[in-house]
């Protein structure tokens, strides 16, 4: 007689699943999370009630209108019930049903575990954010977005693999960072929209109208002190709650798998997947820093000084935000949550399998070109001198040199005659060349990523003999 199930049930070990999606303590913790969400929404309901807004129903619903407070109150009630379900069902995790359904996990993983879709989704999301900024920046919509993201996070925590990634003490601040970035982006659009509306009506921006000066002492110093105390308290709590993710002593022959840079360098690490170290580790970071220093000298738009606006600085803000959100924050998210063992891309609900196989055979542009012509790569006779080899190597990589030359030399001229005509006229030759090359360098990263994912392109110019790969 097999008595193992009996024994485990006596010991209340529950299932023998080594990676349980839900356990009593997980369900109990989620109950508290829903309770916090409930409290937040009660506060918001109270706010809505005092604001007194309402939503007009469409004609087929007989054109009535509902106060927004009623909607939030209903939603809060549902949250409280969900919380109660968690508290009362915590003892039987095996039959717990309020979890992320498998089909949803599969669908989400299919999108995020493929870098092409991930990048497409972040870029399209970025464009949609700019297009629908007026609608998104309403307080009720902002609150709904916050709730949606929190609900997604909370229900995702019913997945074991998701908990491993998000709950790692290293990664908790990245989760917080996502909400902080979202909040400040929302605040920017909220204020910018207000000023853009005013500007359309011919009124001065909020900042110009309410420019009452305040005193350094006490107004500023008090604010700073309160912030200081709050941040100190937060850091102490953080230090107590989350243990420092210390690892075993380092060994030169044992690299952790995956090996991740500190979170703020994950954008650079992602760049290193596509470009050679001298480019992604030296040239591009220098260009980013130098380019940011050059912005004030490139910028000829005198508007947008000292007040929030989007319409007055459309190009500048869109360019910066594209570099910051899909390219920097997006790459940090990709590096933190999606890159797993062997630097493969994993879904957020996917087990980090060291043996996950991805076909990643990469091909250089020169190989595409010469093999496409049905010819072997131009190669110098074996054992020849440097000066005999050089012409062969340059001929071999000629397609890459032409492509890069076209991109960095010819394209600025073409753009000056077409899409950047106004910029060229306003800036003059030197400033325009600096500007266009900076924009092209920034675009070089997503372009290379797309080429890598789409056609497995390795390097445009590949000269390993001279340590020169682009």
């Amino acid at each position: 007689m097999n008595s193992l199930p009996l024994i485990t049930s006596w010991l209340s070990l529950g299932s023998l699943e080594p990676h349980p999606n839900v356990t009593p303590s997980v369900i109990f913790g989620l109950g508290w999370l829903y309770l916090i969400l409930f409290c937040m929404n009660v506060a918001w309901t109270w706010r809505s009630f005092h604001k007194g807004h309402h939503i007009d129903l469409p004609a087929f619903a007989r054109g009535g209108h509902i106060p927004t407070a009623a909607i939030w109150a209903t939603y809060s009630t549902v949250l409280m019930l969900v919380s109660l379900i968690h508290f009362s069902c915590a003892s039987s995790p095996d039959s717990f049903w309020f979890i992320m359904p498998d089909f949803a996990k599969t669908a989400v993983d299919a999108v995020v575990a493929d870098a092409r879709y991930y990048f497409a989704v972040t870029t399209v999301g970025f464009v949609l954010m700019l297009l629908f900024r007026n609608w998104l920046a309403q307080p009720n919509i902002g609150w709904a977005l916050l709730n949606l993201s929190l609900l997604f996070l909370t229900i995702s925590l019913t997945d074991w693999d998701f908990r491993q990634i998000v709950g790692k003490p290293d990664n908790v601040p990245i989760v917080a960072m996502l909400f902080i970035v979202g909040f400040f982006t929302w605040v920017f659009f909220y204020r910018a929209n207000e000023n853009d509306r005013r500007s359309a009506q011919g009124r001065p921006p909020v900042e110009a109208e309410n420019n009452e000066k305040v005193l350094t002492w006490p107004d500023l110093v008090y604010t700073e002190m309160i912030c200081m105390i709050a941040v100190t308290a937060l850091l102490i709590l953080w230090g107590i709650a989350l243990q420092a993710p210390l690892e075993e002593p380092a060994s030169a022959v044992k690299t952790p798998n995956p090996s991740k840079a500190p979170w703020y360098f994950l954008g650079l690490q992602e760049m290193l997947v596509y470009y050679d170290p001298w480019l992604a580790g030296v040239v591009f970071p220098s260009v980013i820093l130098g380019g940011m220093m050059a912005i004030p000298y490139i910028d000829f738009n005198k508007l947008g000084n000292g007040y929030y606006t989007f319409n007055d600085r459309k190009f500048a803000i869109t360019t910066f935000m594209f570099g910051f959100m899909p390219l920097w924050i997006g790459m940090i998210v990709l590096g933190t949550f999606l890159r797993g063992p062997n630097w493969n891309v994993f879904g957020i609900y996917e087990f980090w399998d060291v043996h996950k196989l991805e076909a990643l055979n990469n091909v250089n542009l020169s190989e595409y070109f010469w093999y496409g012509l049905g010819q072997p790569l131009p190669m110098a006779p074996a054992g020849s001198e440097f000066w005999t080899q050089a012409p062969y190597i340059l001929l071999r990589e000629a397609p890459g040199f032409l492509a890069i030359g076209f991109y960095l030399v010819a394209l600025p001229g073409l753009m000056a005659g077409t899409i950047f005509k106004k910029f060229f006229v306003r800036m003059g030759f030197v400033r325009y060349m600096v500007f266009s090359n900076l924009v092209l360098m920034m675009a070089a990263l997503p372009l290379k990523m797309v080429f890598r994912w789409a056609v497995n392109l390795k390097y445009f110019i590949a000269i390993p003999e001279w340590f020169f790969n682009v």
């Binding site: 690299t255 090996s259 043996h355 390795k458 390993p464």
Partner: protein
Amino acid sequence: MPLKPPAAKDKKAAAGVDRRSFVALCFDPLVLAFGFMAVTSQVWVLALARFMFPNVLVEPPTAFKIGPASDYPLGGVSTKWLAARGVWIVHTDQYKGRNLIYALASVCTHLGCTPNWLEGEQKYKCPCHGSGFYVNGINFEGPAPRPLERVGLKLAADGQLEVDKSVKFQEEMGQWEDSNSFVDGSLA
């Protein structure tokens, strides 16, 4: 409006430095202070340079014996010497169809992490940026621009194989043809 100071006059004064005032200048406290500072920092730089060449180097010798060739059967990648010496001993006929034993340095040619040998997938896979290498060391996936480097391997007088990590052989430079970079696999 404040007048511009007459610059030309100062230049004339500077030009009129005679021997006596030059000696006085040398003993000027400011000049002395900066002089001492310059000399001290030079000594610091020299001391730092000397620090880079320690008297005693506590490192294992670069040449070491790894046992007879028969320890390394065909088709195997030995990770026996990885932890201590940072080399894989590879016995394969996957490079230009020749039966060879050679030692690959366990340093990724992209940015220098230590790749893992994945027996099931028959490849070396770097955990840092995802570079992958075939069993023979040739790069095929990820950003690594060139194959793993071989280190020296020869048959010692006592019949054991001897690795020499002081020399490197790069495939893309045609150095894998060098007879010091491999041992005939039929010895195994």
